[in-house]
Amino acid sequence: MTRSLFIINSSGDVFMEKHWKSAVARSLCDYFFDQQRRVLSPEDTPPVIATPHHYLISIYRCNMFFVAVCMTEVPPLFVIEFLHRVVDTFEDYFSECTETIIKENYVVVYELLDEMLDNGFPLATESNILKELIKPPNILRTIANTVTGKSNVSATLPSGQLSNVPWRRTGVKYTNNEAYFDVVEEVDAIIDRTGATVFAEIQGYIDCCIKLSGMPDLTLSFMNPRLFDDVSFHPCVRFKRWESERILSFIPPDGNFRLLSYHIGSQSIVAIPIYVRHNISLKELGGGRLDITVGPKQTIGRTVENVTLEIPMPKIVLNCTLTPNQGKYSFDPVSKILLWDIGRIDVSKLPNLRGSITIQNSASVMESNPAINVHFTINQLAVSGLKVNRLDMYGEKYKPFKGVKYITKAGKFQIRM
């Protein structure tokens, strides 16, 4: 399957390579660069590129390309999913994944890659197992290791590897036993220029941070589990139990993980918590005008916070001279992105941004209007109305501290102008 991996930074340098079979020449990346040059943005790079003898499957994350080299037929999603898992692991280990961090920790990175893939086939990808095999670097441990001569690499097989719960390590101990659940809902919507909802759905996640000693067996139930249209689980969730009782029953991995992602589809009605009234005109003579007002809508009494509007302007726009009555705005003449950071919406005085737009004189005006990408968060609200009913723990004696937090965010929330 995967023979080699090249990591390429945004300026096109191959700064790390790893081969699981015979080494593959670096010049192979030239095919990749060829394709990359043809497209405008790195996002547009095709994920699969065929070269005469190899297939390059790449992902673009954290401003880096991770290019896997295969020589034979393989499900492309298999490789893509694995590459994403690699990046997730790096983020998990080093708390962020950038070029400098990878370069600094090249030994750990190399050891990780070696454990994750054997002869091109995934071996251990579960974060809990990896962390037992190779300890994540931190300053304290580095110092301790230099003094005691111990190493970050484990000499025994992680117990999880052989058990039924490969995602959890054994012998977990905490003085404070805590379990936190974040119910995050993202509203994806397309709103047309009249303000009507073309398409809206909710994408939700339950991210957990679980620090419980021993082997806790948790059950999480919801007030209204019927809401879910479609769900996908962390492998720890017992599917049968969900099928029959709509209860999440699981032995959690240690630490942070995503327990569940769900989808509430376009068949149901989704409350749109914000509206934007906009008026834009791009005329050749006398420049253009822009007037935008933002207001809350269907928020069930919560305030809408961290509101940001991002408008990628057409190429012909040279500059914007605007006055906001709230927040700050900026216009980047190179990327042509108008960014208006509003903050929280005050109902008594609705945020407004108006002013004039300078337009390139010679250019013929295209009949294309930009779209507004909206970002916002609403705390303590799950917009679908989802509520966690209760969390029970079996298998351990202590009483854990439990917490649930609800957040609604804008996902791919777009307003057509």
Partner: protein, 1052 residues
């Protein structure tokens, strides 16, 4: 110091973009201590590293190894250090050792002789008591690609394949393809090892074993037979990556071993453009009758994997369903695929590719998710294009309105490539759906006046194609396009217009010659493609209207004769012969010219680019649309299924295999003894199993103890794994066993009633084992019925509370599951006419879906359309006049409904299990006037119940409870097709099929408010008569439902 070194390394690394840096001293090396640049002579390079490696301090060694790994990571050559590094393979420090391994794997190939020095260390490590060390020794040994050690590796693999530790066995499975690629002559011997590993019962091993199988001997499908059922049953617990490989392999297996489940309704396929829900339900019934039980096992056990977080698992299952499942069941994959669209960009791209392919073959599958394919401006271009393609594939008469409106907004996008594709998509919709052809054509013509030239050009090209498919009168469009010749500069568009003028010159006899005149004037400045079309136009005009156009024609040909491009010169020379009889020898060509040039031409068909992909879905080949190395085409289903008994495992080996065996056996018997078709429901299978256990009670007593030990399995194991080295071997053995137990356990938990039934059966068995043994010869069916009656009466309390994957407590009510409707009515009824509503028209429809707010509410879709001349504002529910207990959940206020527009929203009504109508007012504002119209919704009885699934046994017991007053029976004359009975029932009421056979069909539902069961049984008596029996606690509902069913079934 370490980080400093790393930094300096990384600073240098960037500049080395060629694969082999020169080994001579390079100015860059001077600043790099790690590369030994201080010494300028070659032989002393890396001297410091060598010294560090030779020292006896672990810290220094580690430091040196880290730097060397850094060099390798940056792709620089570190092979010179081989002798110094290889010595350290014996190091006690685990991290040094690991890094040496990494180094070895990378360079052993280049330094074969030296690499041999390390072999003895690995051989020793293979005997190490620590399983991790054994495993990693095997890993590295097999990764050293030196052909001389093949026999050693072979031996090591053989040994490790029977190691105690599943982890080592897994590594052995990984080593097999490595050795195979090194020396393919070992194949036969490796297959022997592989066979052993494939029969392994640990989830950890089987995934890797199948991976090795796929790599080494995918053609030896016979190795799978014996393991097939085990693989299916273990699948849920295998790691994600193993799942993908196994499912892909089983897809191929299913294609060779089972017959096509859709074979009986292939005619349908060709007649129908897509499958609506009604045809689905009838198909279900038919296909279930023919599907092999092993095939069913595969489909059933893969279904939960659609919920996996791993996109490639979901994809693998989806393609399995696409390629091997009965048509009606493929639908379930749609939802999961849609979910993947929220994933990373790369995942989206590949999933959309697959959806595009599926959407051609199965149009109905993604229709409900149409809106998920709407394009956002933030999508990357290639994603946009894929979405566009899918939208076009999905377009039908009903959805075309929405789609065209979307396309319209896309045209004003700033992404030019996307705009072009949108216009082409409109063209495709127009040619595929005859109803909208004219609308689209008009729309495209209006685009001709767009200010953006690219838009105009693309429209011209599309209009040209459309006009060809619609050869009727479109004179004015052609005339309009002729005028555009003066403005458009894009050659493709100019050429298209010229072609159109030539083709239809008889429709515009005055314009065409004039255009030719203008073209002739400017001939030299045109692009080649335009010049060719000018020649074409000239010839065609000359044939139609020689008097007016001959001089132009001659002029153009004269110019073309001296053109720079030889294509044009050639073409001119060729075309000349048709119109100018210069030499005058044969007159044949000019005579035939009209028939050649003005022959009616077949219209182009506008199809998706995914039309003819014959590759397996989700493969690399499918994505790239070309055969990749190692791609194996999916075989087509055999006409006759190969002998299914090959999958039977010799009796007594494993518990579940035996169960399967009996199940199969049983099925055959049943088929012979009574003409009762086998129940496809899981419940009935479960019942069969119970029965079998009773039959074989003597053999299965020993197994029951296994079951009970399951419960403590998990804890015992974790304790054991903490044990010290001495006891390790023992513990491994135990965990091994427990794994195999788990397998049998997972088999049980497959079916709905999971552990509880087997538990009962166990109890049952103890009680009755003696009697049963005597009564064996009794018919199987009797036993089945006996048990059916007994099951729900025995107290249900599973003992295995600690079992990991078994639910802790199942109670019986949970066995009634609400399921989605088998049929969704699309007929709308009028709630408010546009005359009564001052221009506002409201229609309603029952969607039979769960209401968001509460399960008690009936979901009603309201469609508002404004047919008046003014916009309607603030539409909302006004005064409600409801009977007691009834409740309306308002729809959200509609602020504005423009004239001639339409909008849908959802209303929820709790009818409180009555057929009383709900009366309420709809308030709205037109202009300045406030209107309030009273409306009434009366739900048919079939809409206030919701389909549920329950086990057959439960159906029978519940039915016996609801006798007497609660039972309503009637007979109906029925001469129509038996196969559509269920369809008709679905149309009448929202019920689900519990079981169905030739004589009797059972349906179930429950009322929304009180959740009382509604059980419908339809018996066929003779050829002409049906007996309908409705059991319901609520007598009124029962009798009304019976009447409705009667009248609906009578109609034919």
């Amino acid at each position: 110091m370490l980080t400093a070194a790393a930094n300096s390394l990384s600073n240098n690394g960037g500049s080395y973009s060629n694969d082999r840096p020169s080994s001579t001293a390079d100015p860059e090396f001077a600043t790099d201590p790690a590369s030994g640049g201080f010494f300028h002579s070659d032989y002393k390079k890396h001297e410091d590293l060598k010294q560090m490696l030779d020292s006896n301090k672990d810290g220094l060694k580690l430091e040196a190894m880290k730097r060397i790994i850094g060099m390798i990571a940056k792709g620089r050559d570190a092979s010179e250090l081989f002798p110094a590094v290889v010595k350290n393979v014996v190091s006690k420090n685990i991290e040094v050792k690991k890094l040496v391994y990494v180094y070895l794997v990378r360079y052993a190939e280049d330094q074969q002789d030296l690499a041999l020095l390390s072999i003895s260390t690995f051989q020793r490590a293979l005997k190490d008591p620590n399983q991790l060390i054994r495993a990693s020794a095997l890993r590295v040994l097999s990764s050293i690609r030196v052909s001389m050690i093949v026999p050693i590796v072979m031996l090591a693999i053989k040994d490790s394949a029977s190691d105690m530790s599943p982890y080592v066995r897994k590594t052995a499975a990984h080593a097999i393809p490595k050795l195979y690629s090194l020396d393919s002559e070992q194949k036969e011997e490796l297959i022997g090892v592989l066979e052993k590993l494939l029969s392994d019962k640990t989830t950890l091993v089987v995934g890797s074993a199948v991976m090795a199988f796929e790599d080494v001997c995918p053609e030896r499908i016979d190795l799978i037979h014996k393991n097939y059922r085990k693989l299916c049953n273990l699948l849920v617990d295998v790691d994600e990556w193993g799942q993908v490989v196994i499912v892909n392999m089983l897809t191929r297996y299913a294609r060779t071993q089972f017959v096509n489940p859709n074979v009986d309704n292939i005619e349908d396929d060709e007649n129908r453009p897509f499958y609506d829900s009604d045809s689905d339900s009838s198909n279900t019934k038919k296909s279930k009758l023919t599907i092999d039980s092993d095939h069913r096992l595969l489909l059933r056990n893969t279904k939960p994997l659609l919920q996996s977080r791993n996109a490639s698992v979901v994809m693998a299952v989806s393609q399995l369903y696409h390629h091997t499942a009965p048509r009606s069941e493929v639908m379930i994959a749609a939802k999961a695929l849609i979910r993947l669209l929220r994933g990373h960009r790369e995942v989206q791209s590949i999933v959309l590719h697959c959806i595009a392919s599926i959407s051609i073959a199965r149009k109905g599958m993604f229709e409900p998710f149409l809106k998920s394919f709407f394009v956002r401006t933030s999508d990357p271009t290639h994603i946009k294009l894929l979405k566009l393609d899918i939208l076009t594939n999905l377009a039908t008469e009903t959805s075309i309105g929405v789609i065209l409106r979307e396309f319209q907004t896309y045209i004003s996008s700033s992404d030019k490539e996307f705009v072009g594709a949108s216009i082409q998509a409109i063209g495709r919709c127009a040619s595929n759906i005859k109803e909208v052809t004219d609308t689209c054509l008009n729309g495209l013509v209006s685009l001709l006046s767009n200010r953006d030239e690219a838009v105009v050009a693309e429209s011209v090209v599309v209009i040209k194609k459309l006009l060809q498919t619609q050869p009727n009168e479109h004179k004015n469009i052609i005339a309009h396009m002729a005028k555009l010749m003066d403005f458009i500069t894009i050659p493709q568009a100019r050429a298209s217009i010229l072609w159109l003028l030539g083709e239809y010159s008889d429709r515009v006899p005055k314009i065409a010659p004039d255009v030719l005149r203008k073209m002739a004037k400017n001939f030299v400045n045109e692009q080649d493609i335009v010049k060719l079309q000018i020649l074409n136009l000239a010839v065609k005009l000359c044939l139609n209207n020689p008097i007016q156009t001959k001089p132009f024609c001659q002029y153009v040909f004269q110019l073309a004769k001296y053109d720079q491009n030889y294509d044009i010169r050639d073409r001119a020379r060729f075309l000349r012969r048709f119109i100018f009889d210069e030499d005058g020898h044969t007159k044949k060509l000019p005579q035939l010219a009209k028939r050649i040039f003005l022959a009616p031409k077949p219209a182009p068909t506008l199809t998706s680019r995914f039309k003819n992909s014959e590759y397996q879905l989700g493969t690399l080949s499918h994505y790239l649309d070309m055969p990749c190395a190692g791609y194996r085409p999916l075989p087509s289903f055999p006409d006759v299924a190969p002998e299914p008994s090959v999958r039977d495992v010799a009796s007594g080996t494993t518990r579940n295999a035996r169960d399967e065996y009996y199940r199969k056996d049983k099925k055959d018997k049943k088929g012979k003894e009574k003409e009762k078709p086998f129940y496809s429901d899981e419940e009935s299978v479960q019942a069969d199993e119970l029965n079998n256990e009773n039959e074989s009670s003597d053999t299965s007593t020993s197994d029951s103890s296994d079951d009970e030990s399951d419960s403590s399995e998990y804890i015992s194991e974790s304790e054991k794994s903490e044990n010290d080295e001495n006891e390790k071997k023992k513990s491994i053995k135990v965990s091994d066993e427990s794994n195999s137990e788990k397998q049998s356990e997972s088999e049980e938990s497959d079916s709905e009633e999971s552990s509880e039934n087997s538990q009962e059966s166990e109890e049952e068995k103890y009680k009755t084992s003696n009697q049963e043994a005597v009564e064996k010869p009794k018919s199987n069916i009797d036993l089945l019925l006996d048990l059916d009656d007994v099951i729900p009466m025995t107290p249900v309390m599973p003992l295995s509370t600690g079992g990991l994957f078994t639910p802790i407590n199942l109670n019986i009510t949970n066995d009634i599951r609400e399921v989605s409707a088998s049929f969704i009515p699309i007929k709308k009824s009028e709630l408010l006419s546009s005359i009564m509503g001052h221009g506002l028209k409201i229609e309603y429809r029952f969607t039979r879906s769960q209401h968001l707010v509460s399960a008690y509410l009936v979901t009603i879709e309201l469609t508002f359309s404004n047919e008046g001349s003014e916009p309607v504002k603030e539409i909302q529910v006004g005064v409600k006049n409801l009977p007691k207990g009834m409740l309306i959940h308002d729809f959200t206020q509609i602020p504005l409904l423009e004239k001639n527009s339409e909008l849908s929203t959802t209303l929820g009504i709790n009818f409180n299990d009555s057929t009383q109508p709900a009366n309420f007012n709809i308030d709205f504002i037109i202009g300045e006037d406030t209107h309030s119209c009273s409306v009434t919704i009366k739900a048919p009885i079939g809409e206030i119940i919701r389909a549920v699934l329950l086990s057959e046994s439960m159906f029978t017991t519940e039915k016996t409870k609801l006798k007497g007053m609660n039972e309503h029976v009637a007979k109906v004359q029925y001469s129509g097709n038996k196969k559509v009975i269920s369809q008709k029932v679905f149309e009448t009421a929202n019920v689900a099929i519990v079981s169905s056979n030739d004589e009797e069909i059972r349906f179930a539902a429950h009322t929304l408010a009180s959740k009382s069961l509604v059980l419908v049984t339809i018996k066929m008596i003779g050829n002409e008569c049906l007996e309908i029996c409705v059991n319901c606690e609520k007598m009124v509902i029962g009798s009304i439902l019976l009447n409705e069913l009667k009248s609906n079934l009578k109609m034919n």
